[in-house]
Symmetry: C2
Subunit: 384 residues, 2 copies
C-alpha cells in the first residue's frame, strides 16, 4: 500500500538520529519512471518553512524524481541557514538517486525554529537511498510521524489497472490552517502535468481543505503528487480526480481520527446554504469554537455554542430560519427551541452536527474533532 | 465601589432561585436622577439573545432608569417565548421601581437555549427592588457571576468630584468575540447622550474589544453606561472618556485574570505595524492560536507558534523583517534565529509577547490568556 502501491515507485524510511528517541525520522520516495510528472500544493502561511520554499521552486516545471522527508525538525523560521540546509538535503538526495537537485522536493516536520542536525540528515539520506524498495511505502509512512500514533496510508486501484496510493502525517487542514500535514501521493496512471495539477487542487480542496483539527496553520504543509505512467493507462481526468479524491479523503479522515488528543470525530454538515462558500464559512466557524469542541469532549450536545459560533459568520441567513440537529435530533428548529437535548444519542466516537441555514440549496461538510485534556497536554509539553 | 460608587445610583443583588445552587442570581441597578442619560454597546453576534434585542430598543432614545440582570440562564436562542420573557422582566422591573418598561434594560447570562424560570425571576425582581440601596453595588456584582471566581468592580473618581464606577462578569471580548460579558458602568458626571455614546464606544474599543480570552463570541454581550449628572460637574469629554476607559480597562483586566482555567495573563504587543488595524490583526491571530496558548500553559516560549499564527494574517509585513521577543528576550530577530529560548524568563503569571513587524509606526496591545486543562474541564462539564 502507501506510496509504493503504484508501479515503479520505491521508498524507504529509516532512523537517521534526527529524533532523540531514535525512532524512524527520514524517508525517501522515488519515481523510477518512465514519466516524471508532479504537482504540489502548499501552506498559505506567510512564514513558509525553508523546505516549502525549496519545493515550490522544484515543482515549478511540473517534474520531480524524488521527495526527501524528515520528521524531528521543521526547518521553519530558520533564516538563510535553513534554506541552505533544505538545498543540501535536495543535493544529497539527487546525488544518491542519480538526478539533479531541482528534481527533488523536500518536506520537513517537527519543532519550528531549530536547525536540523545536518550530519545525521546526510548520513540518513545515504542509508535511506540504499534501502529503497518497491515495498518501502509503509516504512516511509512511519518515518514521517511526529505526534501521530499510527501511520496513515491509502490506496485506490482502478479496474483498468492503474493505482493511486499515498501517505500522510499530521492533523489539520491545508489552507488556511493546520498542525503540519505532509502528504505524498503516487500514481502509475498516465497523466500530464496540467491535469495532475488540476486534479490535485480539486482533490485537496474537497478533502484536506475541509479538515480542521485545531485551526492552526502550519509553516510546512505540503501535498505532493507524482505520476509515472508506468501502468500504460491514461484515465479520463474526472475518473482520475475521483480516485485521487478518494485517497486524499481517506488520508484526511485518518488525520482527524488520530488528531492530538481527539476523543470524537465530528462531521459538521451545513445544508440549505445560499452558496457552498457560505456553508463552509459557517462550518469553519463552528469547527473553530473551543467552547463547542470542549462540549463535545464532555458528551454534551450544547447546540447554543453551535449557534453562537454560526452567528459570527458573514454567511447569508436569517437566524429565525436556522435549525440545528445533533446525531439526527433537531434541538433547534427554525429559530426556536426544538427537541430536548437529553434526547440526543451522544455516545461513541462519531458526532454529526447538521446546521440547516434555510437560505438556499448549497451544502458542505467539514471534519473536525473535540478539544480535550490530552490536546492541551501534548501541546503544552511538545517542545520541552 | 462598583455601580453605586457614583452618587444617586442604587443597586441590589439577591438569590432568586434561578440557579440550582441557590447562589445570588438577580441584580438591579437603578438611576435615581436627576438625569437619565444612557448608552450601550452589544454583541455583534447574529444570534442576539432576547435581552439584547430588548435592550437595544430600550436604549434607542439614549435614556434608561434601570437595568435588571440575571445569571443562571442566558435567555438566548429561545425564540418568541424568550422575547416575551425579556419584556416581562422589563415590565416587572419598571413596575417595581416606578418607571416605564422602555426605560429598563435587561441582561442575562448562563446557558443558551433554556427558558428562564419566570416565577422565580418575578419574585426575585420584587425582592431585589426592596433591597435597593446606595451600598448595593458589591451585591449586584456578585449576583451576575457565572463561572467567575471573583466579582469584578472598578472606580475612578475625578479631582473635580465626579465618579465613574462599574461592574462586570465573564471573560472575553466584546466585538467580535467572548464568553458572555455583562458590564454596567454608572457616573454622576453631567454628560449628554451623544457624548455618552461616543465615550462608551471609544472606551470599549480600547479595552473590552482588545481582550480575547477564547475567541468565542457570545450572544449576550452587553455594556451599559448610565449617567445622572448628580455631581453637578460637566467634565470635558476627553477627560470623561479617559476616566471611563480607566474603569473599562480595569474591568477588562479583571476578566482576563479570572478567565476560565487561565494560569497566565498574556499581553501581546505588536509594534512597528503599518497601521493599528494591522497590529490588531496580527495580535488577534496569535491570541487565537490554541497551539500558542497551550505552549504558554506549559511555560514554553514556543515562538514558532507565534510566527505560524502571525503568518495567517493579512497584515502588511515582510517575514524577513519580523522579530519576536518573550519577556524581553529576542528569540527571533529579523527573519532569523535570535537568542536561545532557554534564556527566556518564563516564570510567574504575566507573559509579554512582543512582535515587531518592521513595517511602520503603529502599534496595539491585546490581552489574552493560556489554554489549560481547567478551561477544557469547565467547558466540557458546564451544562451537565
Amino acid at each position: 500500500m502507501s506510496v509504493t502501491a503504484a508501479s515503479q515507485f520505491t521508498a524507504a524510511g529509516i532512523s537517521a538520529g534526527i529524533k532523540a528517541t531514535g525512532k524512524p525520522d527520514l524517508a525517501l520516495v522515488v519515481n523510477t519512471g518512465p514519466h516524471r510528472v508532479a504537482a504540489g500544493v502548499f501552506t498559505s502561511n506567510r512564514f513558509q518553512a525553508a523546505p516549502v520554499v525549496w519545493s515550490i521552486d522544484a515543482l515549478a516545471d511540473g517534474r520531480l524524481d524524488a521527495v526527501v522527508l524528515n520528521s524531528g525538525g521543521a526547518n521553519a523560521c530558520t533564516g538563510p541557514d535553513g534554506l541552505v540546509d533544505a538545498r543540501t538535503m535536495a543535493e544529497l538526495t539527487a546525488s544518491a538517486v542519480h538526478t539533479s537537485p531541482d528534481k527533488v522536493a523536500v518536506c520537513s516536520t517537527g519543532l519550528i525554529g531549530v536547525r536540523l542536525p545536518m550530519d545525521a540528515v546526510a548520513a540518513g539520506i545515504s542509508t535511506a537511498a540504499h534501502a529503497l524498495s518497491p515495498q518501502g511505502g509503509p516504512d516511509a509512512a512511519r518515518a514521517i510521524m511526529t505526534t501521530d500514533t499510527v501511520s496513515k496510508q491509502a490506496v485506490v486501484t482502478s479496474e483498468a489497472g492503474w493505482t493511486v496510493g499515498g501517505m500522510a502525517k499530521g492533523a489539520g487542514m491545508l489552507a488556511p490552517a493546520l498542525a503540519t500535514m505532509l502528504v505524498v501521493v503516487t500514481t502509475d496512471a498516465v497523466i500530464d502535468a496540467t491535469d495532475a495539477d488540476a486534479a490535485l487542487r480539486k482533490a485537496t480542496g474537497l478533502t484536506f481543505d475541509r479538515t480542521d483539527s485545531d485551526g492552526c496553520m502550519s509553516t510546512n504543509d505540503t501535498v505532493i503528487l507524482m505520476a509515472n505512467g508506468a501502468s500504460g493507462h491514461a484515465p479520463d481526468i474526472d475518473e482520475f480526480t475521483q480516485a485521487l479524491t478518494g485517497v486524499c479523503g481517506s488520508l484526511a479522515r485518518q488525520l482527524i481520527t488520530d488528531a492530538e488528543g481527539a476523543k470524537h470525530d465530528i462531521e459538521i454538515l451545513v445544508t440549505h446554504a445560499d452558496s457552498e462558500a457560505d456553508a463552509l464559512d459557517v462550518a469553519r466557524a463552528v469547527a473553530r469554537s473551543n467552547l463547542f469542541k470542549c462540549a463535545i469532549f464532555g458528551d454534551d450536545p450544547n447546540w447554543g455554542r453551535v449557534l453562537a459560533a454560526a452567528g459570527t459568520s458573514s454567511a447569508t441567513f436569517d437566524p429565525d430560519q436556522v435549525s440545528v440537529s445533533f446525531n439526527g435530533v433537531t434541538v433547534f428548529a427554525q429559530g426556536a427551541l426544538g427537541e430536548d437535548r437529553s434526547l440526543v444519542p451522544l455516545v461513541g466516537r462519531d458526532v454529526l452536527v447538521e446546521i440547516d441555514l434555510g437560505a438556499g440549496d448549497a451544502s458542505a461538510t467539514l471534519w473536525t474533532n473535540d478539544l480535550t485534556y490530552d490536546y492541551v497536554k501534548e501541546n503544552a509539553e511538545y517542545s520541552s
